[in-house]
């Protein structure tokens, strides 16, 4: 009964490839997020989706595209992978309008680009 799940947990791929990371939440939340944790352990938001609408896009390269088929899923597609994309990617979800915005995180996907 995992609240926020991500697949795969580990992803190793070559430069230039296209890959996707899937995220699902069963909490009934209406907002989902993608975060990137880089080698310096800095956790930074990439995207958030509310009711299938993009709300935040923090200067992320357009090679990254979030796709939300429904409120319970927010997948991350990455085109033309680069070495600098190697990081741990976390999905999260929350209920809009709650204060504070308590976000629930998935276990992370460690992406390694060779």
């Amino acid at each position: 009964d995992t609240a926020v799940s991500q697949t795969p947990k580990y992803l190793v791929t070559q430069m230039g490839n296209d890959k996707s990371i899937k995220c699902e939440q069963n909490l009934g939340h209406d907002t989902m997020y993608w975060y990137k944790q880089d080698s310096k352990k800095f956790l930074k938001i990439m995207f958030s989706y509310n009711n299938k609408e993009l709300i935040i896009n923090e200067t992320v390269p357009n090679r990254f595209s979030p796709k939300s088929p429904d409120k319970a899923h927010l997948n991350l597609h990455i085109n033309s992978l680069e070495l600098g994309d190697s990081a741990v990617y976390f999905c999260a979800s929350s209920r809009l309008g709650t204060s504070p915005d308590t976000q629930y995180f998935g276990p992370g996907t460690r992406l390694t680009v060779l």
């Binding site: 926020v4 930074k44 709300i55 504070p100 995180f105 992370g108």
Partner: protein, 114 residues
């Protein structure tokens, strides 16, 4: 530009003693501050929060103190237990249309020595 900073990457404390984790921020518009706890290979989990209009919030062994004039907050854990050993992230939120954006510090690794 990092708006939330945790200047101590690590902290070691004896079991039963107090652990104090510190966090500084720069944005006076933050309305909530949160602490997340992270174990290896897992996503961050919410621990405790405080509103910007308060100066203290307590939950069991965990207390968060906020000093708005100094733009500083701290998490106190007393008594510390070996199971508290984890990375602790300070985060701050600012209300934006449609979602609350969380800004994270780089984390402090707490080790509680039995």
């Amino acid at each position: 530009d990092q708006q939330v900073k945790q200047n101590s990457p690590s902290l070691s404390v004896q079991e039963g003693r107090i652990s104090i984790l510190n966090c500084d921020y720069t944005n006076s518009m933050f309305d909530y501050f949160l602490w997340y706890k992270k174990y290896p290979a897992e996503g961050p989990t919410f621990l405790i929060s405080i509103s910007s209009i308060k100066d203290k919030n307590e939950d069991g062994r965990f207390t968060v103190f906020l000093n708005k004039s100094a733009k500083h907050l701290s998490l106190h854990i007393v008594p510390s237990q070996p199971g508290d050993s984890a990375v602790y992230f300070c985060a701050a939120s600012v209300d934006q249309t449609g979602a609350n954006n969380l800004f994270f510090g780089t984390g402090t690794r707490l080790t509680v020595i039995p």
